[in-house]
């Protein structure tokens, strides 16, 4: 080699890029040429700058752990058989020869081992995607809403893994709740509690299924959730309800299914936020002798969930649910059916004589027996329903169950008023009361009737509620507002007395006409130790209304030692209690009645002279 080495040659030598011959030649030249050796050092020095980027990089333990965890942490990922490449070659050769000799069609395609990006495969298994993260994956995506196709698993199908998956492998393994087919609400007003029973058709695959449900922004009690298949009961098993960590308001049911296709499921849970209240509207006749009473039920939904076409049932009366909730908490299978299915109660309505606990069993399990729940055979439901819906009432021991006819859609944050009953011409008593101890100097109007057959009621108890009373006025059918009030639960055959507030047109005016003492008694030193007081009262009752009214006047005397002399116009008198007297009188329209009484009260040693007979 003549002359000196150019930089390219020096680079090739420095980085071992030259062929064997060239390398020997370069070595020989460098051995003899000091100049080129200097240049070689210069080239090496120049490339030493690359060392500036040669720092060590260490993998953190965290990253290592993450990678190992990602690889599934020790689960056997695929059965495989090791075949050394030499055997694979022999096998390939044998197959080639066999194909040539036997088939003799010029077919030369030997069964070569599968090629990976780096040569033949290690395993005999096809290089398909392995199970990731230890959870079997399925190529098909599990969806709802497909055609209702249901077929029992064939015997030849792959056996279902015995061990359930710890968690869904990915989002495609999860199924969210499909649209509900039917829903039944049983609203327990006394405890702000509603039992929701809904039916949804889930599409299951054979094997393990994950069903995800969310209850964010609702008032659903997640611990009360229960899921139960309504068909294929022996072949579908709801295994567990999992509340995954770090996921709020989400639960996942693990379902083992031996069938594939759509299966109806019943989901039961408690929620708050649904309430109902009763209210009534009474229209008095012009003479206030009869009243038309209409009962309504208003259902409000603030539960955060919309219930479409729901069968709504209302519980009247106070239900002691605390014991029942405790019972739910103690049950053996917390997320199975809360109560065994109601074989004995099918199609029955429990009588009042049956026990209260059994009544709740009926609520929880009676859905199958409710013909209208599954069938919805009342025609139109929800919005646009024109005909008045009937509310069916059933007695259940201490409670009463009102079932609203048909179905109702109750959107979230909506209220809905439904008519409950209507009774025409209930005989009522228009009563005015005067009692200074309770209402001061005002006369208060009451409307009284009874919840019994005589008053054209009595079929069911009347739930707590408010009532507004109107009165027909004039011949044109106009109404005048008379008053409103709240009343408590009224059992059958109990008297109802509605307080309509102070009356302006009926006045009671007691006037003290005379006062004096008498019958004094003295002790040994001449001091008074006994005496009588005498009050003379005149009571005027004025009725400025155009109808006759009945008035009760109560007089309280502050002592039980009293006697009375009555005179004037009143219909009845009775001692209401030991220190109260009651005068009853009917007052014709636009008229006035007066009565008087002289009250003698005994004091001190004179009390001994008092006799009850003289009241």
């Amino acid at each position: 080699m003549s002359g000196h080495l150019i930089e390219d040659m020096l680079i090739k030598y420095a980085f071992d890029l030259a062929g064997e011959e060239e390398k020997c030649s370069l070595e020989a030249h460098l051995g003899d040429c000091e100049h080129c050796r200097g240049n070689l050092d210069r080239v090496r020095g120049k490339f030493r700058a690359l060392d500036l980027l040669a720092g060590d990089v260490a993998v953190s333990q965290e990253l290592t752990a993450k990678v190992v965890e990602q690889a599934g942490g020790g689960r056997k990922i695929r059965s495989r058989t090791w075949m050394p490449p030499v055997w694979m070659g022999v096998a390939a050769g044998v197959l080639v020869i066999a194909s040539v000799l036997v088939i003799n069609r010029g077919w030369r395609s030997a069964s070569r081992p599968e090629q990976s990006e780096n040569g033949p495969v290690l395993s005999r298994q096809p290089a398909s995607r392995p199970e990731v993260l230890g959870v079997p994956t399925r190529p098909e995506v599990y969806r709802f809403g497909g055609p209702a196709h249901l077929a029992a698993a064939a015997d030849t199908e792959k056996a279902i893994e015995e061990r359930p998956p710890f968690a869904p492998a990915s989002a495609i393994e999860l199924v969210v709740l499909p649209r509900r087919e039917n829903v039944q609400l049983t609203i327990y007003n006394s405890a702000d509690l509603t039992l929701v029973r809904e039916r949804r058709n889930l599409t299951l695959k054979r094997g393990w299924n994950w069903l995800q449900l969310m209850w964010a922004n609702t008032l659903i009690d997640p611990t009360s959730l229960s899921l139960e298949p309504k068909e294929h009961k022996g072949k579908i098993e709801v295994q567990q309800l999992v509340y995954p960590a770090r996921l709020k308001d989400i639960g996942r049911w693990l379902i083992r299914s031996e069938v594939e296709g759509q299966v109806p499921f019943e989901i039961t849970y408690f929620t708050s936020g649904l309430s109902w209240r009763a209210f009534y509207m009474g229209t008095l006749s012009a003479d206030e002798s009869t009243m038309r009473l209409e009962g309504y039920v208003r259902v409000d939904n603030y539960s955060g969930e919309e219930y479409e076409d729901a069968q709504t049932r209302l519980i009247v009366g106070r239900v002691n649910l605390l014991d029942e909730i405790a019972e739910l908490a103690r049950r053996q299978h917390p997320y199975g059916s809360p109560i065994p299915m109601p074989e004995v109660f099918d199609g029955e309505i429990m009588s009042e004589a049956e026990h209260a606990d059994e009544a709740l069993l009926f609520f929880a399990d009676g859905m199958d027996s409710d013909v209208d729940f599954a069938g919805g055979g009342y025609g139109a439901g929800g919005y646009g329903y024109v005909a008045i819906k009937e509310i069916e009432k059933e007695g259940l021991s201490e409670y009463f169950l009102y079932t609203i006819e048909g179905r109702e859609t109750i959107p979230n944050e909506w209220g809905k008023r439904l008519p409950s009953f209507e009774a025409e011409a209930i005989p009522v008593t228009n009563l005015y009361k005067y009692d200074e101890g309770r209402w001061g100097g005002e006369t208060v109007q009451f409307l009284s009737f009874a919840n019994d057959e005589e008053h054209k009621l009595g079929a069911t108890p009347l739930p707590d509620g408010s009532v507004q009373i109107y009165r027909r006025a004039g011949g044109g059918g106009g109404l005048a507002y008379t008053g409103g009030t709240e009343f408590k639960y009224i059992p059958v055959n109990e008297k109802v007395e509605l307080d309509l507030g102070p009356a302006r047109h009926v006045k009671v005016e007691p006037v003290l006409m005379d006062y004096g003492t008498a019958a004094h008694q003295f002790d040994g030193r001449g001091n008074i130790n006994g005496w009588d007081e005498l009050h003379t009262w005149k009571v005027t009752v004025t009725n400025t209304r155009d109808i006759a009214v009945k008035v009760e006047v109560f007089r309280d005397f502050g002592t039980q030692y009293w006697e009375m002399e009555r005179s004037g116009s009143f219909d009845a008198y009775e001692a209401e209690d030991m220190d109260t007297a009651k005068f009853t009188l009917g007052v014709p329209a636009r008229s006035k009645r007066e009565f008087s009484y002289v009250l003698r009260t005994y004091h001190g040693t004179r009390e001994g002279a008092w006799s009850k007979d003289r009241q």
Binding site: A58, L63, A71, I77, P130
Partner: protein, 197 residues
Amino acid sequence: MMDNSDKSLILAHLDGERAAFAELVRRHGDGLLGYLCRTTGNRQNAEDLFQETFRRVHEKASTFNGSNFRSWLYAIATNIVINDWRRRKRHPEVSLDAMWQDWDGRGSGLDTIAATDEGIEPSRAAQREELKTQVRSAVASLPAKQRLTLIMAYYQQMSYSEIATTLGCSSGAVKTHMFRALKRLGRLLPDEAGGVS
């Protein structure tokens, strides 16, 4: 474990031994992460690709032919890196220069120099940092195959035949890539770097 070659570790992993995979990660992790840091220029990105590489190793373990695990591993990693480059080219997030910052956990500002290069005069440290930036830019400017070859050969100390297996080409082609890379760097790098290293 009697035989702890890479091949036996892969076989053990296929049989479900957790420790085997962990050993593979420990054995090749540092080198691979260095490779990914140098190819991507970004530690965070490199760690993501690192995870992705070992995920694919796990998935494709049954296709490993048992010859050279490192080549196989780097082939997987290289495919991932190339895909990452393509993705970033379509959706650029950072410039190439910026990509090369901080992959080794060091910044390039004077404050960083003063804080990290103890014992070196600040002026020399600044000079060194400037040279480092120059080298990064020079390497980053290389075409993909030349860059990958240079990184594997120079920094990962892989033989040319190993690189050829990794890149799926002949050793001659690898040498050509390496030669062209060095020639190009020869023009870009300053004459003498020894004084500041």
